[in-house]
Amino acid sequence: MNKKVSRRDLLKGIGFGIGAAALAACTPAAPAATSAPQPTSAPAAGGSDAAITYWGFNGTLGKTEDDMVTMYHAAQSAVKVDRQVQGSYEETAQKLTAALAAKTAPDLALLSDVWWFKFYRAKVLMPLNDLAAGAGIDGSDFVPSLWSEGVRKGAQYWIPFARSTPLFYYNVDMFQAAGLPDRGPKTWAEFDEWAPKLLKKDGATIKTAAFAHTGAASYNAWIFQGVIWQFGGEYSTPDFKIELLAPDSIRSAQFYQDTVDKFGWAVTAKDAQKDFITGLTAATILSTGGLTGILKDAAFKVGTAFLPEEKQFGCPTGGAGLSILTGTSTEKAQAAAKFIAYATGKEGGAFWSQNTGYMPVRKSTANSDSYIKYFQTYPQTKTAVDQLPKTRPQDAARVFIPGGDQIIGKGLERIITGKENVATVWKDVTAQLDKEAEPVKKDLIALGA
């Protein structure tokens, strides 16, 4: 046993060395929001008041998050954040489930828009109002549509952190070649006029589509949330009355089907982001979270625009936020709230969103000097931030009904790919959503909502 421990300690040292080297390698790419982060030399034994465990992002986003935590440690010494990675959103939720049962849950966790509510229903999330106020987090400084999404019965359970919205992306080179203006379409009707000029066909095979739809595996129900609002419809009311059979809701899905079937200028892509980067489609709607990667990988000039309107404008919010779990001690919960304040604020929050493509969730962050500079370098990101105040939290049917996202998404696939009758499909989907909503309604009554 002794031998194992000492070897582990030794390797921990090596691991840290590599981590520090990696950090040193990536800092030059960071914008000038702060001076280059210094790795904290003081380990856990240092003068920190509270050490919290945080389950955050994996992948390249995780690396940016690591850098932010390092900056946080350099900026203060009261709170020490032990950031751990438990995989993707789904894997993190899976592990959190097991960890809650085994009482090994973390203090703070990153939960996506469809996940946090499940944990809220299971009564394992802490109300954050007092904690947030104690840490100097002012709710009114947040973008209202983002802040209100995590509120239940007047209490805040989920604070926006890595938030995104759908955004209209277009290939400027292709738009120019087709003689179109360098802007997004104001309305879907306008895009319908433009589309034939963008479409390139080789016989019956579409070589370049005017528009690419995403599939259910890539959260098409999130993208379509905006479209159904634009047409004046909605998935559901806040109290789970499914509205898919309302005339406007049907009209919106019929339009989606027509783009592929009747108008023939759109395709369903396996990976719409890839299709856009490779020039297989002239335009698409994707998350703002993909913007950084698209700008890097695209060999053409990328344009971004507000989502097109129909009857009105409509755009949902998405992404992930932070929640504190009920097993956490008061002291640690306070420390976690301080970290949340930093991670959404002018320093940490600006660093985070500028390096990932997520939205600045606080108005003061979006108005900071570093952001003004950032918008000059990447004007495309300004569109996303400008669009943000016009967004709304998503309908209950997609985010609060278990599996709601996939139920709606698979229905959309039947409509677009399967070319089925819209009303028939929406009737099936409504029945399914109604059934799955039952336990949620029961839980909410039990919770007194």
């Binding site: 789904e90 939720a93 899976q94 489930t97 809650l100 049962a101 499940k118 944990f119 229903r121 299971a122 009564k123 394992v124 019956a204 095979t205 579409i206 070589k207 599939g215 259910a216 595996a217 369903t268 892509a269 396996k270 990976d271 890839k274 490779t278 297989l280 278990p402 599996g403 996939q406 698979k410 696939e413 039947r414 790919t417 399967g418 099936d428 399914q432 799955e436 336990p439």
Partner: protein
């Protein structure tokens, strides 16, 4: 349950006194393996059976006994028959192809050919590749406008199907990836089996004037039958539970065309948090596999012994 009638090892052991020492040896040899399974496999499965009669979201402390309600819910779900059928189609297609092509590969690479080690390594390598990398390669290959398959079909004047976005083609696409990934595995097992066939049998058959087909039919196939039995059974069991490829390539879509029982179990349990209904799917899968195994044991294991 008498599985074997002509177990030749019984004749060996028959000469030895049936004493308790033999039993102790058995326990010492097989006991730890079974004990670990009891803790980490059988116990969770029993737990799963109990959960299938409960309504629970896995986190909250209140668990409600609902009797057969979960079973009713699962069986009356409009998508269930499709998911069940998908599972059967996927398993039948992928197992048949892996076993048939794997046999070809095994026979081929068991010959004394130059460079066969390299060839074996290449055939086996997809088995080691991680899921994410496989997805990116195959999504590219299947691209109907620019993918590799398009590049092959286009000059022949054939239009490439929309493999991954057309519900009629997504299942074949998944089967192709599965066969690609597991072919090398079957090949390696077949090679091990072929090595067990004594070379003198072939000599004898040759002397008797048996042609290639006769030698294959009367020497190779019977000699391979124990290993073939292993392969048939384990391939069926593992393809019933094949989750990775579906999860990374299609997530059961489009329109549930590649949704199988194992993926549905994951959806219900870990996406919808409906542990009771996931438990039902777990039981259905288990019973299905159990029946298949019993049938195989009845018919195939017996043949093995006559060989």
């Amino acid at each position: 349950m008498q599985l074997t009638k002509h177990d030749f090892s019984a004749s060996i052991a028959g000469r030895i006194r049936r004493d308790w020492r033999e039993w102790l040896i058995f326990l010492a040899f097989a006991g730890p393996n079974v004990a670990l399974f009891a803790i980490f496999t059988y116990a969770p499965m029993v737990n799963n059976l109990i959960l299938s009669f409960n309504d629970w979201n896995m986190i909250s402390s209140d668990k409600a006994w609902v009797g057969l309600q979960n079973y009713i819910d699962v069986f009356t779900d409009s998508q269930f028959s499709r998911i069940f059928l998908n599972t059967i189609v996927f398993t039948a297609a992928s197992v048949t192809l892996v076993l048939a092509l794997g046999l070809g590969g095994g026979l081929l690479l068991n010959q004394k050919l130059r460079g066969r080690n390299a060839a074996r390594s290449i055939l086996f390598s997809p088995h080691i590749l991680s899921g994410a990398a496989i997805a990116i390669v195959w999504i590219y290959i299947f691209d109907p406008r620019f993918g590799l398959i398009y590049a092959v079909l286009h000059p022949l004047g054939i239009q490439s199907p929309n493999w991954l976005t057309d519900p009629n083609w997504s299942m074949p696409a998944i089967v192709i990836v599965y066969v690609w990934k597991y072919l090398g595995y079957a090949t390696v097992i077949y090679i091990a089996g072929l090595q067990a066939i004594p070379g003198d049998l072939y000599e004898a058959a040759r002397v008797d004037g048996a042609g290639a087909w006769m030698r294959f039919r009367h020497v190779t196939l019977p000699g391979l039958s124990p290993v073939m039995f292993f392969l048939v059974l384990t391939s069926i069991l593992s393809s019933f539970q094949s989750f990775d490829i579906i999860n990374i390539m299609t997530k059961g879509g489009p329109i549930n065309s590649t949704n199988t029982l194992i993926y549905h179990l994951y959806e219900l349990g870990f996406i919808n948090f409906s542990i009771g209904r996931a438990g039902v799917i777990g039981m259905i899968l288990f019973v299905l596999m159990f029946v298949v195994t019993l049938l195989q044991l009845r018919y195939l294991d017996r043949q093995v012994n006559y060989a």
